[in-house]
Symmetry: C2
Subunit: 323 residues, 2 copies
């Protein structure tokens, strides 16, 4: 393959929390890139969150469904690489059922893969989740460990990843997969984990902590996650998977304590949700080092910036909570 | 759970080669069972192959799509267990692309799972394939080995299996998964592997053998495969996966030689297809023993019966080859 020179990126699900951070990062970093975002804009305020980008002539927002095959083909035909963030997890949340995930995550990815193959895209990156490995059993999961999802969002992402790998094997499509940890940061929708805790804390209502608070997760600041995905897209080895995370595990109780402290609220606001599954998650992130990426923002710095943002933008999230 | 007493089975894809063998086996074995088959009947002659069953009052054939959610719900509501054979592999074959597999295999299974959950089915069995483990690397694959599909049909089946496992974990749906080896027998569609070799041999045209003929597979006579699936449905441990095979690996060259000999044709008819991937497949089938199942038909007996059938039913397959 000739040297990689991506001129026009198709970003599916690019109006979401992480997708839009990735788009902003690329527009900042590369003056010549064109970006087309395909997004269903099913979150009521998604378009509004991208309003400032609409003035950038390098950026185009297309409202549509990743399952709309002719639309996907039309957009892929103008682009030379695809990045897919589209997942039912971000729009249907806990109300989404298996058929909804099968459509948005699996059929959507299948459409994008088929179009990328047809128009010989230079890269196809699937932004997936570390939850595809399933709950932690021993050491943090490495990229070659078995895929064993235990939730619907994770199974749908894993299915999309398997299709992508087949396109690499059968069609030599230069695919890349990222298994990212939980992302947090300013303007995260309030139904997503960290934002939910922060907005509850700021409102002074109880913050929910899974099980007895000892379950661990890895959290990564949104700009770090977006930057890592860009690094994998440009520097990753086609056909490969990359775990993206801080490499630091934090318990649910510790996370809640950090947030409550930053919000000036007492630890007694924690409410333990006993019926939650007792699942921890952790990944090994060493494979990112040769790509020259490492996280820039520590959890305490990132949470401070995030809490500050929610404090200053109360109208933004109070509106959304009412919606 | 109360004692298992399945009265009305919903069998998706039950007009296919293996599905219809399973249905016939059950109607023979259980005088009181009711069976509803949901099948798209996309194979032109599928309905004709089931014509004799239509006189059985315990049997009902519904032409429809597993992605038609309200139809699936309506049928599931009248049944108390589901068996899913529906796969794009059997109707789209090598012309099917990833979006087609995402719909038939993944969204179809998702619809059936959601309906089985809603109407509290006693069992949900997904008839999947041993190809989900991917090509053989060392010892034959066991049920707990990693899922690593390398073809589109295998990735789609694996995705369906992951969704089924999530329904077991999250909703306690009593799911079962079978990973079956290649099935063969009378009336197998002529575009499927063993039937393709037999009909080519009977016509006296070259029979295709993958690579240099040394790649191995396991083959199981259709009635044995159907009987094993029934055994898993009634005796299997909910949440579990069962490998189904003869446990005997045969090379492509050996298989072709056996068939050519039975057809009275010379070994020189073998044509080696060099560009085929060099993949062998094998599974460990010991988990079936405690269920009291073992294959009844050896490969040489099964091939003899199958070749006899194709010899006596030339009109059946000549018609289909022309279609």
């Amino acid at each position: 393959m000739a040297q990689l020179r991506i001129r026009h990126l198709l970003v599916a699900g690019g109006a979401g929390f992480l997708g839009s951070a990735f788009v902003r990062d690329r527009l900042r970093a590369d003056p010549e890139i064109l970006i087309t975002v395909l997004d269903a804009l099913r979150r009521p305020t998604a378009a509004g969150d991208l309003a400032d980008l609409l003035e950038d002539r390098r950026f185009r927002l297309v409202q549509g469904d990743v399952c709309d095959r002719s639309l996907v083909e039309d957009l892929a035909n103008r682009a030379d690489a695809t990045v897919n963030f589209a997942s039912e997890e971000f729009v249907g949340g806990s109300r989404a059922d298996a058929p909804a995930f099968a459509r948005t995550d699996v059929e959507g990815t299948a459409n994008l893969l088929e179009a990328a193959r047809k128009f010989r895209h230079q890269r196809f990156l699937l932004a997936s989740s570390m939850e595809v490995y399933g709950p932690l059993k021993g050491a943090p999961y490495r990229e070659d460990d078995a895929i064993a999802p235990r939730t619907l969002p994770a199974a749908a992402r894993a299915a999309a990843g398997m299709l992508a790998r087949v396109y690499h094997v059968m069609h030599d499509l230069p695919i890349l997969i990222t298994h990212g940890v939980a992302t947090y940061g300013p303007a995260q929708p309030v139904d997503q984990p960290v934002a939910r805790v922060i907005t509850a804390a700021l409102r002074g209502v109880p913050v929910e902590v899974e099980a007895d608070g000892s379950l661990v997760r890895d959290y990564l600041f949104v700009d770090d996650q977006a930057g890592a995905i860009a690094r994998v897209l440009w520097k990753g080895d086609p056909g490969s998977t990359y775990n993206i995370g801080s490499g630091v595990q934090v318990s649910g109780s510790e996370l809640a304590d950090m947030i409550l402290r930053l919000c000036g609220k007492p630890p007694s606001l924690k409410r333990f949700v006993k019926e939650a599954p007792r699942w921890s998650y952790a990944i090994e992130t060493r494979r990112m080092r040769p790509l020259g990426w490492e996280p820039r923002t520590t959890l305490s710095e990132g949470l401070r910036a995030t809490v500050d943002w929610y404090r200053k933008n109360e109208a933004w999230w109070r509106d959304r909570q009412a919606a």
